[in-house]
C-alpha cells in the first residue's frame, strides 16, 4: 500500500518537474514581465508531492512496514520512536529522498522570493534547478528506490546501526543537507545569470542570502557530526580527516569564499566571474562529495550500502553538471578585468578566497590522492592527519593575521591604526606567555597559533563592543563570526597541545595511579534497556592536585538488532576540562582496558563553533 502510494508520488514529482521545465522554456520567449502563474502552481504541486512522499516514507518507518526493503533493512520494531523517524534518513535511499525534498523546497522558495528579479534570469535558473531535480529523481527511482517491496514481508526488521542511534546524528543529515542541497540554488542561479546576462550587483543581491543561509546550516551540520563523533566513536577526537568529513568541508570552503567575495561583488561589481565560478563549484563539489561517499570508492566510517551502479550514476550526474556549467561559463562569461588594487578592503576579502581555495585544494588532494595512486600505480595508501596538519597549520597563522586586519581596512583608502595593533599584539604575546607558564612547553608553531588567534579574538571582540556602543547591532555579524573562528582555533590549539591520555588494564576493586590521578574501578552493573543490554562500569577518578572526585560510568552495549557491540564513552564536562573515559573488555580476562582522557576546553570549542555560525545567522537580518 505504502509502496504503491510512494511510487505514484515519485512519478508525480517527475511529471511536475518535466512540466516546469517545459513551461519555463515556453515562457522564455513569451511576452510579459512576470513569470506565468502556471509555473508557480506547478512548483507548489511539486513541493506538495515531494513533501507527501517523504512523509509517506516516514510513516512507513514509524509503523514499521517491513514490506518496504528500506524499512526492513534499516529499522526494527523495538527502536524508540525518534530513531524510527531519524532512521528515514539514516540510510542511502531515504537520505536521497530527503535530498530531493530539500532541492524542490529550495526551488520553490527561490521562485517565491525572486519575484523582483529579471524574468529571463529566473526562468533559466528554474530550468537548471529542475534539470538537477530531474537527474536526482531518476537516480532515486532507478537505483535507490525507497519504496521497493519485499514479498512476503518479513515480520521483523534488521535494525538501524546502533552507532547511528544518537540525537546528534538524528539532526546531522538534515542540517548538513540544507547546506549541501541549498547550494544547488546558487548553482542554478549562476547558470541563469550567465545565460541571461544578469548585471553583477543584481546577481549578488539575488543569491547573497542563500549563500549565508546555506553556510549557516552547513556549519551547524558539520558541527553536529563532529559532536557525534566525539561522543559516540570513543576515540576522544572530534575531527579525523576522514574522507567523508573532508567531503563536507570542501563545499564549506567554497561557501565561505563565496560569502566573502560576494560582498565585493555587491559593493563594487567586481569579481563577477570569480563569484560565478565559486557558485558553480560549490554544488559540483557537493555532488563530488556525494560520489566519494556513496560509491564506495573510498572507505570511511560513513558506510552506506555501496553499489557501483549508484556510483556510476552519480559520476554521470557529476560529469554533466561539470561539463554543462563549464561550457555555459566559457560561452557566456564576459571576462572582467581585475582593476589595479589598492590595499583596500576588497584585497583582504579576496585574500580570504585565496586561503579558502588553498585549503580546498589541499583537502581535495588529500582525499582523492589514494584513489589516484590506486588507479595509476596500484598501491594502497592512506592520507592521514599529519599531512593535513603539516600543510594547513602554517597557513592558518597568516590567515588569522589577515582576518584580524581585514575588518580594519576601508573600501577606499586604508590607514591602519598602528599603535592599537601593536598594543593588541603585545597583549597577545603576554597571553601566550601565560599559557606557556600554566601548561608548560609548547612548540614554536603552537605559540604562533596562540598569538595570532589571541590577536584575532581581541580585535574582533573590540569590534563587537564598538558596534554595540555605536548601536549598529545589525553590523556585528562579521565580527561575531571572526570572533568565533579565532576562539575555535585557540581552543583547538589548546586542546590539541594539552590533552592527556592514559591507558590501563584494570579489574573491579583495583585502584591505579595515573600521574596525579587515582582511578578506582568500583563495580560493574548489568542492565537491560529497550533495544540493548549494557555492562556499566562504575569508576572514580580522583585528582590529587585539585582534590576532587569524578564519577564516570562508561558502558559496553550489546545491541540485538543487528547484534553489535558499542562502547559508550562516559564524559564529565567541567568548565575547563572534559573527563573522557571508555572501557572495553579483554577476552578471557577479568581485566578491562580503560582509556582515560583529560581534554581541556572541549565545551569552549563547541561554543566557539556556535558563535561562528551565529554570526552567519545574524547576517541574514542585515539590511542596507
Amino acid at each position: 500500500m505504502i509502496s504503491i502510494f510512494g511510487n505514484s508520488l515519485i512519478i508525480l514529482i517527475l511529471l511536475s518537474t518535466l512540466s516546469i521545465i517545459y513551461f519555463s522554456f515556453n515562457s522564455i520567449t513569451s511576452l510579459g514581465i512576470n513569470i506565468s502563474k502556471k509555473i508557480y502552481h506547478l512548483s507548489l504541486l511539486q513541493v506538495t508531492f515531494v513533501v507527501t512522499c517523504l512523509l509517506t516514507l516516514i510513516v512507513g518507518f514509524i509503523i514499521s512496514d517491513f514490506s518496504l526493503t528500506t524499512v526492513f533493512e534499516n529499522s526494527h520494531t523495538q527502536k524508540p520512536l525518534i530513531y524510527k523517524i531519524a532512521g528515514t534518513w539514516g540510510n542511502h535511499e531515504g537520505s536521497l529522498l530527503l535530498w530531493i525534498t530539500l532541492m524542490v523546497f529550495f526551488n520553490f522558495l527561490f521562485l517565491v522570493y525572486g519575484k523582483k528579479y529579471e524574468k529571463k534570469f529566473m526562468l533559466f535558473s528554474l530550468i537548471s534547478q529542475n534539470f538537477l531535480i530531474l537527474s536526482f529523481i531518476l537516480f532515486l527511482f532507478f537505483t535507490s528506490n525507497p519504496f521497493l517491496l519485499i514479498n512476503p514481508a518479513p515480520i521483523e526488521g534488521l535494525g538501524l546501526n546502533p552507532i547511528l542511534q544518537d540525537p546528534a546524528l538524528a539532526i546531522h543529515p538534515p542540517l548538513l543537507y540544507i547546506g549541501f542541497v541549498g547550494s544547488s540554488i546558487y548553482f542554478s542561479s549562476a547558470i541563469g545569470a550567465l545565460i541571461s546576462n544578469l548585471p553583477a550587483k543584481e546577481f549578488a543581491a539575488s543569491i547573497k542570502n542563500w549563500v549565508i543561509f546555506t553556510w549557516f546550516f552547513q556549519t551547524l551540520g558539520i558541527f553536529a557530526g563532529s559532536v557525534w563523533a566525539y561522543y559516540e566513536l570513543g576515540w576522544g577526537g572530534f575531527w579525523f580527516w576522514d574522507p567523508v568529513e573532508n567531503a563536507s568541508l570542501l563545499p564549506w570552503f567554497c561557501m565561505t569564499a563565496l560569502m566573502h567575495s560576494i560582498i565585493v561583488l555587491e559593493k563594487k561589481g567586481q569579481l563577477y566571474s570569480w563569484v560565478l565560478i565559486l557558485c558553480l563549484m560549490t554544488f559540483v563539489l557537493t555532488i563530488a562529495g556525494t560520489f566519494l561517499v556513496r560509491s564506495g570508492i573510498l572507505n570511511s566510517v560513513h558506510t552506506f550500502a555501496n553499489d557501483p551502479t549508484r556510483g556510476l550514476y552519480i559520476l554521470i550526474i557529476l560529469l554533466l553538471a561539470c561539463l554543462v556549467s563549464f561550457f555555459i561559463f566559457i560561452k557566456h562569461s564576459r571576462g572582467n578585468s581585475i582593476q589595479g588594487y589598492n590595499l583596500d578592503r576588497g584585497t583582504f576579502i579576496l585574500s580570504n578566497n585565496w586561503f579558502m581555495i588553498f585549503y580546498l585544494v589541499t583537502v581535495f588532494l588529500g582525499t582523492v590522492y589514494p584513489i589516484f595512486t590506486e588507479v595509476i600505480f596500484n598501491t594502497k595508501i592512506s592520507v592521514g592527519p599529519p599531512f593535513y596538519n603539516t600543510v594547513i597549520i602554517p597557513f592558518v597563522i597568516v590567515f588569522l593575521i589577515l582576518m584580524s586586519l581585514g575588518p580594519e581596512s576601508k573600501w577606499i583608502k586604508t590607514k591602519f591604526p598602528i599603535r592599537k595593533l601593536l598594543t593588541i599584539l603585545i597583549l597577545s604575546f603576554v597571553l601566550n606567555l601565560i599559557i606557556s607558564v600554566i601548561f608548560k612547553s609548547t612548540s614554536l608553531i603552537s605559540n604562533l597559533i596562540f598569538i595570532t588567534s589571541f590577536f584575532l579574538i581581541i580585535m574582533s571582540f573590540l569590534d563587537v563592543i564598538k558596534l554595540i556602543q555605536l548601536n549598529k547591532i545589525t553590523l556585528i555579524s562579521r565580527s561575531v563570526s571572526h570572533l568565533g573562528f579565532g576562539l575555535l582555533i585557540l581552543f583547538i590549539g589548546l586542546n590539541h597541545n594539552f590533552s592527556k591520555e592514559y591507558d590501563v588494564n584494570i579489574k573491579t576493586g583495583e585502584i591505579k595511579k595515573l600521574n596525579n590521578f587515582d582511578l578506582k574501578f568500583k563495580d560493574l552493573k548489568l542492565t537491560n534497556s529497550q533495544n540493548y543490554k549494557s555492562i556499566i562500569g562504575n569508576f572514580e577518578l580522583k585528582d590529587n592536585d585539585k582534590n576532587f572526585i569524578k564519577e564516570l560510568k562508561p558502558e559496553i552495549r550489546i545491541y540485538q538488532n543487528p547484534e553489535t557491540l558499542t562502547y559508550e564513552a562516559s564524559i564529565k564536562s567541567t568548565i575547563f576540562n572534559d573527563y573522557y573515559l571508555t572501557m572495553s573488555n579483554l577476552q578471557n580476562s577479568e581485566y578491562y582496558n580503560v582509556k582515560v582522557q583529560v581534554k581541556p576546553f572541549m565545551s569552549w570549542l563547541w561554543l566557539s563553533v556556535l558563535i561562528m555560525s551565529l554570526g552567519g545567522f545574524l547576517r541574514l537580518f542585515y539590511k542596507r
Binding site: S295, G296, I297, N306, L312, V368, V375, N505, L586, N593
Partner: protein, 174 residues
C-alpha cells in the same frame, strides 16, 4: 583570447582526467577485507630477522611445516592476553611461529619476551608497519595460519584464545 582558450582547454582536460580516474577507481572497488586472503598464497615480503639480522623473504620460508604468523607489539595489551596460548602453541612440533613485531621499539619488544617468555621460532621486525599492511592486517594482535604450500588457511583477528589454540592444534596435527 588565445590565453583564455588555453586555460579552458587545460581545465577541460583536467576535468576529464579526474573523471577517468574516478571511473576506473569505481571499477577497482575492492574493499580492504582480509577475509578474501584466505585460500590464497601469501604475498611477497621482506622483513629483518632479529636473530641473524638478515632479511627474510617468502622464498626463505621452510616448506616442511605449518607456520603461524603472529603480528604483535609490546605496547598492545591484548597481545599480553594471547601470549600464554602462543607459548602453548610453541610446543607443537609441526608448527613454526613467526612473530612479526609491529611498529614497536625493539628494546621493549625484547624485554616483553624476556619477561613473558619467547614463543617465536623467528622474530621479525616491521618497524614501519608497512609489510604487515601488505599482509592484509587490520590491527594487532592478528595471526595467520599458513600451510606447507604457503597458502593462508585461517586468520585470527584479535587475541588468540583457548578455542583458537585447540583449532590450530587440530589443523596442524591432523
Amino acid at each position: 583570447m588565445s590565453k583564455i582558450n588555453f586555460t579552458a582547454y587545460f581545465i577541460l582536460l583536467l576535468i576529464i582526467f579526474v573523471f577517468m580516474i574516478f571511473f576506473f577507481g569505481l571499477k577497482n572497488n575492492q574493499k580492504y577485507d582480509t577475509r578474501d586472503n584466505v585460500g590464497k598464497q601469501i604475498s611477497e615480503f621482506e622483513l629483518t630477522s632479529v636473530k641473524s639480522n638478515n632479511i627474510l623473504t617468502k622464498s626463505d620460508l621452510d616448506k616442511s611445516n605449518f607456520k603461524l604468523f603472529n603480528f604483535w607489539a609490546s605496547w598492545c595489551p591484548p597481545c599480553k592476553d594471547e601470549h600464554p596460548f602462543l607459548m602453548k602453541l610453541n610446543k607443537i612440533d609441526k608448527l613454526k611461529i613467526y612473530g612479526i613485531n609491529f611498529k614497536d621499539d625493539t628494546k621493549s619488544a625484547k624485554k616483553f619476551l624476556v619477561n613473558l617468555g619467547d614463543p617465536y621460532d623467528h622474530l621479525l621486525l616491521d618497524e614501519t608497519g608497512k609489510s604487515s599492511v601488505d599482509f592484509g592486517i587490520y590491527g594487532i594482535p592478528e595471526s595467520i595460519l599458513i600451510d606447507k604450500n604457503l597458502i593462508i588457511i585461517k586468520r585470527y583477528i584479535g587475541p588468540i584464545n583457548n578455542k583458537d589454540y585447540e583449532e590450530i592444534n587440530s589443523l596442524v596435527t591432523k
